[in-house]
Symmetry: C2
Subunit: 234 residues, 2 copies
DNA sequence: GCAAAAGTGTTCTATGTACACCCATGA
DNA sequence: TCATGGGTGTACATAGAACACTTTTGC
């Protein structure tokens, strides 16, 4: 046990939205989708057998963000549309054996990608608001990541990171509703989104639905998803 | 040079407000105070002789925030009224010799405290918007800290961390004006602050001024300075 | 034609902003 | 009494919330 140099690690909270099962009219479902995240099972002490956030050491020639992205790729074979540093956790007692400082990132992936995601004996997806007791302080970390996600959803355009190239405004609204856990007025939501100019209407419509086919939109690439200020790019 | 384990360090951006010199009516001054921060001179390579943010290694039995507070105390003999983690900087090339990951905090101290602050050959205060070329990526870090401070000033109550126990609403407004670098309407500012209930009027007034003595207020302790979500306390 | 989602219009309220105006004190 | 910052009143602009209403499709 080395008391002088804390071990440094990177972990990542990876969020995806998964559509809920078909809802009957009298079901208790409040939104069309739920937040999910992948966890890995620890295969050694401490906390052997418990579920934990994917993570690991930082390579000699990769930046912190690179390490998080590699992390994401290795555990889920996914790349993310949004990756941001969350926080550095470094209380003395967060790991029972050795002193560990974890720099945690959070990422958003698209559901169609998440479908292809690896799942196996030691990687499993969980509903974000119904997690088991995790290793280390990882329950706290996920809670904080959820808080950041919900906050940022209200003043940024990160919702788009959950969607594909083309989407309807109802789909976009359902992303907001699922993350914020409250219904939004479709009429007002439409106007608010349109007034930001963050989406561009296409000529296409989404056919195959039961009713009037909604117009498809695409993201206005001249907007960044979020304004993180004068941070260096990586 | 060890390629496998990056060195871990904590640095702190310490902000204080210093009142500007008496302003003549036709002076170009736009606000009554300016942001200052203390820097330390590097006494060895790399960047020997350059100014840098105070910082150092993390003790075995202190959390990251503790390390930042100790840091602050050692370089300025001050304790801060507000201390928050800023960001972890970890690009590969930010230090020429060895790989260093810096977890940076930012702090606010009161001007009356800052008066007592240590200053010497190797510690000096600089105006935040007029810094020399600093060691490492510290110019970038200060810019980001300024961006965070200005952002947070708009939706939090951190301005109070710059003031003493009792203050007038004009003093509070001058804090906002100095940080945000724009004049605010005194009438509207007063109403906005009062509507948040973050301040409580006292019976006292500030005598000795040239004109009508303004009422003194104190901070409403039932409000936190900022809502940083479900983060662990230290 | 009917049900239901897509999409538009209208009203009400809260909040921010500009600025006129009165008040109280020191010199 | 006058200059000046302290403090109040008021009117206008803008943004958001609530909700009635029209449109367009599948069945």
């Amino acid at each position: 046990m080395n008391h002088d140099a804390p071990t440094l690690a990177v972990s990542t909270v990876i969020f995806a939205l998964r559509a809920n099962e078909a809802q009957t009219k009298d079901s208790g479902e409040t939104s069309a989708a739920t937040l999910w995240l992948p966890l890995v099972r620890r295969i050694r002490e401490p906390f052997e057998g418990r579920w934990a956030l994917p993570g690991g050491p930082i390579g000699a020639s990769e930046s912190l963000g690179d390490a998080a992205a590699r992390n994401l790729l290795e555990t889920t074979s996914l790349t993310s549309r949004y990756l941001e540093q969350l926080y550095a956790f470094g209380t003395v007692d967060r790991s029972p054996s050795q002193r560990v400082v974890s720099i945690v990132y959070w990422a958003l992936v698209r559901p169609d990608e998440a479908e292809r995601a690896t799942e196996g004996e030691n990687v499993r997806w969980f509903a974000a608001d119904d997690l088991p007791e995790l290793a280390f302080d990882h329950n706290t970390i996920v809670e904080y990541a959820l808080w950041r996600l919900r906050n940022k959803m209200e003043y940024s355009r990160i919702a788009h990171a959950f969607l594909g190239e083309r989407f309807t405004l109802t789909q976009l609204r359902e992303v907001y509703e699922a993350v914020l856990r409250k219904p939004l007025d479709p009429a007002n939501f439409r106007r608010q989104i349109e007034s930001t100019n963050s989406v561009v209407a296409t000529d296409e419509r989404l056919a195959g639905g039961r009713h009037r086919p909604p117009r498809l939109y695409r993201y206005n690439e001249s907007f960044g998803l979020a304004d993180n200020g004068p941070l260096p790019v990586t």
